[in-house]
């Protein structure tokens, strides 16, 4: 019975048929919040590739959108009717600590936020062996499980790496946020330059806040220790526990066993779809990251040239008595536009670039998560194969298989739910980031416009050109 159920559960996934090719113009079936059976019909109209071509309005049935705010986490599982229909193994009954934890809300509601974390104040430490930077991590919380309501500790990059690996171990199929890279390959930034440190600090801040906002990870014990323990306490705690090796082993096995392009046999279509989606997404986000960095570079070049351009007009004044007003006016306009460009650049480097970069890093993380899920399933599959081959030890194997089936189911559910959440966040973050870019550009052009218009007014008052100048191209 268990085996049949397992087979059923693996086989049926609603609406996730017709996997997507990497560059396909036809969108796959819903990857975000998939509801019951009718999902197949909810595929959006094909997207033509040439830009500017009209797209059919996507038929978005309401149930595909994010869950309503009031919905309990339990609703997540009940929507996935394949599980409830296919078997009596109701996921509504918590069978493991992780699914119990999953009962908490998935939404990130600011009003319910009870954990506030900041990362700031980078400080250099020099020892005989090495030089390193620590960051101050300040936590404010009203949660009962914290002994105090405020904590201040210092952490170095290594500590963050440790935390991340612990989270990955504890939750192999949850999407753990990315850490900033150890090194920047792009050449210009030195290891301890102010720019590098600041970029890293912001990313670390984001990292901790993402964890804090995550419905499951926020209650992780190691996370709590990270936020609260003094340096020596943390050191001794780190020494306990499985440490890095087991995680590495897990991922190594996962990498070794996953087959390119096919993955695990009978991998649920949903996860193949996620995999395909991520392939394309990664490619695109990387491109967009590169494009945005390039734009920043060009804007900076423009800024540098403009800085030289304005003063030449002032210089010219020295030999032209009659043109002093006009020339000074132009010089002042150019200088103001220069300042406006500076603001525009700052907007990029503070908002869009870090946001894009985080999602570039997410690419690898999601690949890892998918692989680990595959591995869990592979473990099950191999046991199932063993069962069919062996005549003895059937009972033992059957029990093992039962446990593994639970494990697979939990892993799948956890990943699915977290994937939905990630997708939502991504949409929100991308939308916010690009809206910000658009607003910055509008603001930039408005500032420049005002400056030139006032110059023009001052000039045309003298020349009585009036309306003529508006006819000029």
């Amino acid at each position: 019975a268990g085996r049949a159920a397992a087979a059923n559960r693996r086989g049926r996934r609603p609406g996730c048929h017709g996997g997507m090719e990497a560059e396909s113009r036809v969108p796959g079936p819903p990857l975000s919040g998939s509801p019951a059976g009718g999902a197949g019909g909810a595929a959006a109209a094909p997207r033509p590739s040439p830009p500017g071509a009209a797209r059919a309005p996507p038929p978005q049935p309401p149930e595909e959108l994010a869950f309503d705010d009031d919905e309990e986490d339990l609703e997540v599982f009940s929507k996935d009717t394949s599980l409830t229909e296919a078997n009596s193994f109701s996921p509504l009954i918590p069978t493991s600590p992780s699914s119990m934890i999953n009962q908490y809300k998935f939404e990130d509601e600011p009003e319910l936020k009870d954990l506030f974390i900041t990362v700031d104040d980078p400080e250099s430490h020099i020892t005989a062996i090495e030089t390193f930077i620590t960051y101050r991590v300040v936590t404010k919380t009203s949660r009962g499980e914290f002994d105090s309501s405020e904590y201040e500790v210092r952490r170095r990059y290594q500590d963050f790496v440790w935390l991340k690996s612990r989270l990955e171990e504890a939750h192999p199929t949850l999407i753990i946020p990315p850490l900033p890279e150890k090194f920047i390959m792009k050449g210009m930034v030195e290891r301890f330059s102010d720019e590098f440190i600041e970029t890293r600090r912001k990313a670390l801040h984001k990292f901790l806040n993402r964890i804090a906002e995550h419905p499951t990870l926020t209650f992780n014990e190691d996370f709590k220790i990270f936020l609260t323990a003094q340096a020596w306490e943390l050191s001794s705690h780190k020494k306990q526990g499985p440490g890095l090796f087991s995680r590495m082993g897990q991922t190594v096995r996962a990498v070794a066993s996953s087959v390119i392009g096919g993955g695990v046999k009978d991998r649920p279509d949903m996860f193949t779809d996620i995999n395909d989606y991520m392939e394309t997404f990664n490619q695109k986000i990387n491109l967009i990251d590169k494009i945005s960095q390039r734009i920043y570079k060009e804007e900076r070049g423009y800024y540098c040239e403009m800085k030289e351009y304005g003063p030449i007009h002032t210089l010219w004044c020295a030999s032209e008595e009659d043109l002093v007003d006009s020339l000074k006016g132009v010089a002042s306009c150019i200088d103001k536009c220069c300042k406006a460009t500076e603001n525009r650049m700052a907007g990029l480097s503070e908002n869009l670039l870090p946001a894009l970069h985080e999602y570039v890093l997410y690419g690898e993380i999601l690949t890892g998560v998918l692989k680990r899920r595959d591995q869990i399933q592979a473990d099950l599959d191999s046991k199932v194969d063993a069962l069919s081959n062996k005549k003895t030890e059937k009972d033992l194997l059957t029990e093992e298989i039962g446990n593994l089936e639970d494990k697979v189911e939990c892993a799948n559910n956890a990943l699915k739910a977290d994937w939905d959440r990630w997708k939502q966040n991504m949409q929100h973050d991308m939308k916010t980031a690009f809206l910000n870019v658009a607003e910055n550009n509008i603001h930039y052009y408005e500032q420049c416009l005002a400056t030139w218009e006032s110059f023009l007014t001052s000039q045309t008052v003298d020349l009585h050109l009036g309306e003529d100048s508006e006819d000029k191209p």
Binding site: E23, L287, I291, Y309, E320, L323
Partner: protein, 458 residues
């Protein structure tokens, strides 16, 4: 020489290198000349004659005929060494203004000229009107290019801008009260065949001052008119600052081009990304379209800015024309000083001979010491010759003085005219620049507002 009615200081032609220039028409209305700038000439050719009233003559050629350089065409031909070459020919059209105002639309007279003929015309004018700030030609080769612009003379955009520049040149000449009356100029506009021979027959090349002679005068002149010295400094500064400005402007244009064009990549990638997105897809796709629009908009913007650059370039080249006038003054002044010096030395010689004293070293004195003194008759003879020379020299000096003063007067009048023109034109150019920037900003606001709306639908 029937001059214009107003008190134009250069009414009396300079006695020296003036050719057989005849006025084309003695009549004309008494309004300050306004050049007819054709639609095709763009900002570069706008109203070179429309300066403050009183400095422009009313019967300038530009008032009577409408001049356009309407087309450019690639031609092949054979050059002086009988090798095949490719060059561009420009179509000059002239049409009498009156025929237009009466509602008739008579077909214009037209002929083709190439750039080298324009150069020949200008050199002729330079030699024959040294007291005039002769309008410059557009650049022979593309300079101050930013990366997208081609430095190729055959590039259609360059040819187009040169066409406009040549038209502007002709209109400026036609609007100038003095040189517009030149017969060679008129033939340039109207007589296709044999014009080159006609110009060369005037022998103007022989009258051209050698560069070496001019350089010599510049270094050795002792008392040039201070105003010309200042003018020389001014023209150096003008050239230097405009060059600098144009160079940096080209770099700014380059960077601006980069900023806009890189955004075009968003369009493509957004479109590809939208294919895998359900909710975000529409917003992404349409935002991408606006990014394409944004990227494409820079081409027109920068093309227009080139016209602004051309306006500045004209005055960059005018600096050289100013210097040419200064050089002429220095030559005349130097010539004058040499003549005066020569006269003074002859007078001294004469005095020495007459009084028998030898104050300065002279070969004659030495030889007479060595070979014996000359006879009183010989001395008388010499004195007589010298006195004649002195008399001639004094006459010459007088006329050279007059010449020098006339030159200064007429040159300075034209320089004042030029200054007013320059102030007007440059101010207008700066205003044009502001207008262009405003247009660019408005376009930017529109595109990004559209994009913002698309992003908000993501």
């Amino acid at each position: 020489m029937s001059a214009c009615a107003e008190g134009e200081p250069s009414r009396a032609p300079i006695p020296m290198e003036r050719p057989e220039a005849e006025p084309l028409s003695a009549s004309g209305s008494c309004q300050a000349g306004e050049a007819e700038a054709e639609a095709g000439s763009g900002p570069a050719a706008e109203e070179p004659g429309g300066r403050a009233a009183g400095t422009m003559m009313e019967d300038c050629l530009s008032k009577k005929i409408e001049i356009t350089v309407s087309e450019a065409e690639k031609r092949t031909g054979r050059n002086a060494m009988n090798m095949q070459e490719i060059y561009t020919a420009y179509l000059i059209e002239t049409r009498a203004v009156e025929s237009q105002t009466e509602g008739q639309c008579s077909p214009p007279d037209s002929l083709w000229r190439r750039y080298s003929e324009f150069e020949l015309l200008r050199n002729y004018l330079l030699v024959n009107y040294p007291h005039i700030v002769v309008p410059p030609l557009p650049e022979k080769r593309a300079e101050f290019v930013w990366h997208k612009l081609s430095a190729d003379n055959m590039d259609p955009d360059f040819v187009e801008r040169r066409r406009i520049g040549l038209e502007n040149f002709l209109i400026r000449v036609a609007s100038h009260p003095i040189i517009c009356q030149d017969k060679i100029f008129y033939s340039f506009l109207t007589q296709e065949g044999g014009w080159k021979e006609m110009v060369n027959e005037t022998g103007f090349q022989l009258k051209a001052e050698s560069r070496l002679k001019a350089l010599n005068a510049t270094f050795r002149v002792k008392n040039p008119d201070k105003r010309f010295t200042e003018l020389k400094h001014y023209s150096d500064e003008l050239q230097s600052v405009i060059s600098h400005l144009l160079r940096v402007r080209a770099r700014v244009a380059d960077r601006l081009y980069g900023v806009y064009k890189v955004h075009g990549n968003y369009g493509r990638v957004f479109s590809e990304w939208s294919a895998i997105e359900k909710e975000m897809g529409d917003g992404l796709q349409s935002a991408g379209h606006h990014m394409d629009v944004y990227a494409a908009s820079i081409d027109d913007i920068l093309e227009e800015e080139e016209h602004y650059a051309d306006q500045l370039k004209e005055y960059l080249f005018y600096a050289e024309a100013l210097r040419a006038v200064c050089r002429k003054h220095e030559l005349i002044q130097y010539d004058l000083e040499m003549a005066a010096q020569d006269l003074a030395s002859k007078k001294q010689q004469c005095e020495e001979l007459a009084t028998g004293t030898l104050r300065t070293f002279s070969l004659k004195g030495m030889t007479s010491k060595l070979f014996g003194q000359e006879s009183p008759e010989q001395r008388e003879g010499k004195i007589k010759v010298l006195e004649e020379q002195i008399h001639d020299g004094e006459e010459q000096l007088k006329s050279k003085n007059v010449e020098g003063r006339e030159f200064v007067k007429s040159a300075w009048a034209d320089i004042e005219r030029f200054k007013e023109q320059k102030n007007h034109d440059l101010k207008e150019a700066l205003i044009n620049y502001a207008v262009m920037q405003i247009s660019m900003c408005k376009k930017g606001i529109q595109v990004w507002t559209n994009a913002k709306e698309c992003f908000s639908k993501m």
